[in-house]
């Protein structure tokens, strides 16, 4: 990845997120039911969707590793899981804050969507335990790749859980009939989602570059020792 492309994406992320934040906090109207606190939606949902995107990327890179055996894909898959786990943690924390103000509780076990997202988060957290417990090398890379591929199966289940549930309190704003929100809200949401994806993409690019550089530096230090 050329530095200029990464810089352009970083600039896009800053502009999009700043714009989205300004629109979400100042421009969009208050929700009729939840009032001001509904504005957490413009953070919480894009962060959750970005976490899903990272886990899908990790699975794709894992598949590439298993088919090509190139070491680079192991690093890319691991970094995608890492970024996805950070966004996953943010989803849980922002969702918990939103739940507290909307439902009066920090967490409820009766919601399939919440529990399934927690399961996904814990599953991908276990990825790092697996990575640390196996010595670095081809075996570690392939085991982690299979793990990342298994995890991605949970994502459609989590995504559809709320739509399949008969009774729920977790809101659904994007249905099969399209987005159920005002156009100003949709614009703020779209900008926030684009900004979050751009941000994750920039973090991913820099972290992959850093890890590959780290490996090269370590091998050079070993050779020159």
């Amino acid at each position: 990845m050329r530095a200029s492309a990464a810089t352009r994406r970083a600039s896009a992320a800053v502009v999009l997120l700043t714009l989205a934040l300004a629109l979400a906090l100042e421009w969009v109207p208050n929700d009729a039911d939840q009032g001001f606190s509904q504005r957490i939606f413009y953070l919480h949902v894009p962060v959750a969707l970005t976490a899903y995107a990272c886990f899908v990327t990790a699975a794709w890179k894992a598949l590439r590793l298993l088919t090509t055996d190139l070491e680079r894909y192991d690093v890319e898959s691991a970094v995608a899981v890492h970024i996805g786990t950070i966004f996953g943690a943010l989803t849980l924390v922002t969702g918990s804050i939103w739940a507290r103000v909307s439902w009066g509780v920090w967490w409820t076990w009766s919601e399939n969507q919440l529990v399934l997202f927690l399961v996904i988060f814990l599953f991908y957290s276990a990825y790092f335990m697996l990575r640390q417990s196996v010595p670095a090398g081809r075996r570690q890379a392939r085991l982690c790749a299979v793990f990342a591929l298994f995890g991605v199966v949970l994502i459609p289940v989590s995504f559809l859980a709320i739509r399949l549930a008969a009774n729920f309190i977790h809101p659904v704003v994007i249905t099969q009939h399209g987005p159920q929100m005002a156009s100003s809200m949709l614009l703020a949401f779209a900008l926030s989602l684009a900004g979050m994806l751009a941000l994750a993409s920039v973090l991913y690019t820099f972290e992959v570059g850093g890890k590959l550089l780290d490996r090269r530096l370590r091998s050079l230090l070993e050779v020159t020792a």
Binding site: F36, S37, L43, I97, W98, F206
Partner: protein, 45 residues
């Protein structure tokens, strides 16, 4: 500030804090790379 505004502000602040923490960790890593490159330069020259 009412409670809705306080909770919304808290959610956005958590996001900013996590992002800053991530950038701090990455900057520490970058500093380590600089030290390693200096070490390599010293060995080569």
């Amino acid at each position: 500030m009412n409670s809705g505004e306080q909770f919304a502000a808290a959610a956005y602040l958590v996001f900013v804090f996590v992002l800053l923490a991530y950038l701090f960790i990455q900057s520490r890593k970058l500093a380590r790379f600089e030290r390693q490159v200096e070490e390599l330069e010293r060995r080569v020259t």
